[in-house]
Subunit: 324 residues, 2 copies
């Protein structure tokens, strides 16, 4: 087997990967491709980030014998599915950062519920204004897209004693969630929810799943938290809903567009930054110091499953992403 | 027994209190005192807020036969101890809002750890700046003053998998905390802690307990959260520590001075509002819609214990508050 790890890596991480994989095949790194692009033709297994679309597309298009494609990221929505051969098994890195994303998501939920941002903002203006916190105990929380991340969120919310609702495609939950329903039932749940957390992958079925109609089903003072993908929500619909419903709160970590570089001016399509009822963070739910180390380890473990002839975790269905 | 409930109450709450207490004695309300102040001389039991110092002092000074004094608030540091007879049993309402304060405190901890405030502030300025979140799992958290509130904090933090340390006067904990030490040991713990949560009552022993020396023992990038009382911390020492240690974060819900009214300009003694490494909220950890209902119910239950001849909860030791 020829295994290509197409990532920017330090020497320690390369040694770690070689130690893990070299008894199962020949391991190649990004530098080997730069020296000789022709090796791509011979690759059986590829680990790549799905984030840099153009480069990823180029590498994949030339790896024509690929048997197994593993992404570093939990979401695979950026992959160029239309050029990946049907015989290539594709696995995401779902769950690799589930605990960390769950920690962050609960932080977002509590900031909004407790109005910490509004209270802090008042005092920064030297005004003693009291924005009354809301209590989590007894509130209704929906985890929309109950899976690896949702489970970790539920485990951490449990001792706060909310009523935990989940929906996912098959309506299959576990002991960590109070109620679980198939995705079709979501419209009957939305009017009851105090907090709605989006942890869905972005597929052709979930794109724009939160639109004007669904926003209007939610409580006037509900809080909508998105740590899935920006395009789960229709951007303009959310903007006008926030404008018209000052008691409604949105918490947005994932965006419809990204800047090329950090530290840049961010060009908003809609002026969300002028609204008091939104909390905005720049796609950091899955970031922490050395977060890549953990993602790499989890991805390598999954590649090992493939190399040993076991079934890898997080096999994704390309039909969910290919447009009809 | 003559029981005075000296609070502003609606008719429903008065009916509730009468139903609970009237078989144990004569129940009087604030209005009865306004009609005839002389009844104060005959009161055996008093429920009062400790917040409005001048009025509280006046009522207590005229209730010379008082056997049992119950406060509505969890903290009793505002009571005029020097005029309360030694034969009067004093009980705080500690624990009445412990669950809610715990929810809020974890919100404060997560905002600081995840840098949600900094990330939101950047995007509000239309700048895509990434402030990297920190992970709670594996971090060291100290609950300084482990008691009713500390326990509820620990229960809710447990699934985040931190190392939970507590100190309290006697060094006695429970199953919810990993390590517990007597208060004397705090100086050896401070250098290890990522998060330090103050849930101490303000007594003559705890006033100014966090000073320049103790701040200097803490990690350069530690987070100090105060939901106890403002005067636990020496205000100027904290201000200069924040100024000189930009990686250190303070989260302050309790203050050294309070404005007379909400919505007023708040006069800072030190310009904390100019610092990026502080999160400020206006003493709302124990506030929520109808929070007084719960405090009143808990206080009435404790008065019932006294009236039935049982030992009330939360008996406080006046010596802790009287200056030598």
């Amino acid at each position: 087997m020829n295994i290509l790890v197409f990532l920017d890596l330090d020497e320690d991480t390369k040694r770690y990967i070689l130690k893990k994989l070299s008894s199962y095949g020949n391991v190649f790194f990004k530098e080997d491709v730069i020296k000789n692009e022709d090796i791509l033709e011979e690759m059986d297994v590829l680990l790549i980030t799905s984030g840099r679309r153009k480069l990823t597309r180029e590498i994949i298009s030339r790896s024509r014998k690929l048997k197994f494609l593993q992404t570093l990221s939990a979401g695979v929505d950026n992959l160029p599915f239309e050029i990946i051969s049907e015989s290539t098994l594709i696995a995401s890195n779902s769950g690799a950062n589930a605990e960390e994303v769950a920690e962050y998501t609960i932080g977002l939920l509590l900031v909004a519920a407790k109005k910490i941002h509004l209270n802090d903002r008042s005092l920064r203006r030297q005004i003693w204004n009291v924005h009354t916190p809301r209590i989590i105990k007894g509130s209704n929380i929906l985890i929309w897209g109950y899976g690896n991340i949702g489970r970790e969120i539920a485990i951490r919310l449990r001792p706060f004693k909310p009523n935990l609702y989940g929906v996912n495609r098959r309506g299959v939950g576990d002991d960590n969630i109070d109620f679980i329903y198939p995705a079709d039932n979501v419209d009957s749940l939305l009017p009851l929810m105090d907090y709605i957390i989006l942890t869905l992958p972005l597929t052709k079925y979930t794109r724009g799943i939160v639109d004007k109609k669904r926003l209007s089903l939610m409580k006037k003072d509900a809080t909508l938290i998105n740590v899935g993908r920006g395009d789960l929500i229709k951007e303009g619909d959310l903007y006008y809903h926030l404008l018209e419903n000052p008691e409604f709160t949105a918490v947005i970590d994932v965006w419809w567009r990204y800047p090329k570089k950090r530290g840049e001016k961010y060009e908003f399509k809609y002026p969300f930054y002028k609204l008091d009822n939104i909390i905005m963070t720049p796609h950091v739910a899955g970031y922490w110091d050395n977060f890549r180390d953990k993602l790499i380890k989890t991805a390598i473990e999954n590649i090992l499953r493939f190399l040993k002839g076991e079934r890898p975790l997080n096999i994704i269905n390309r039909e969910d992403y290919l447009n009809d």
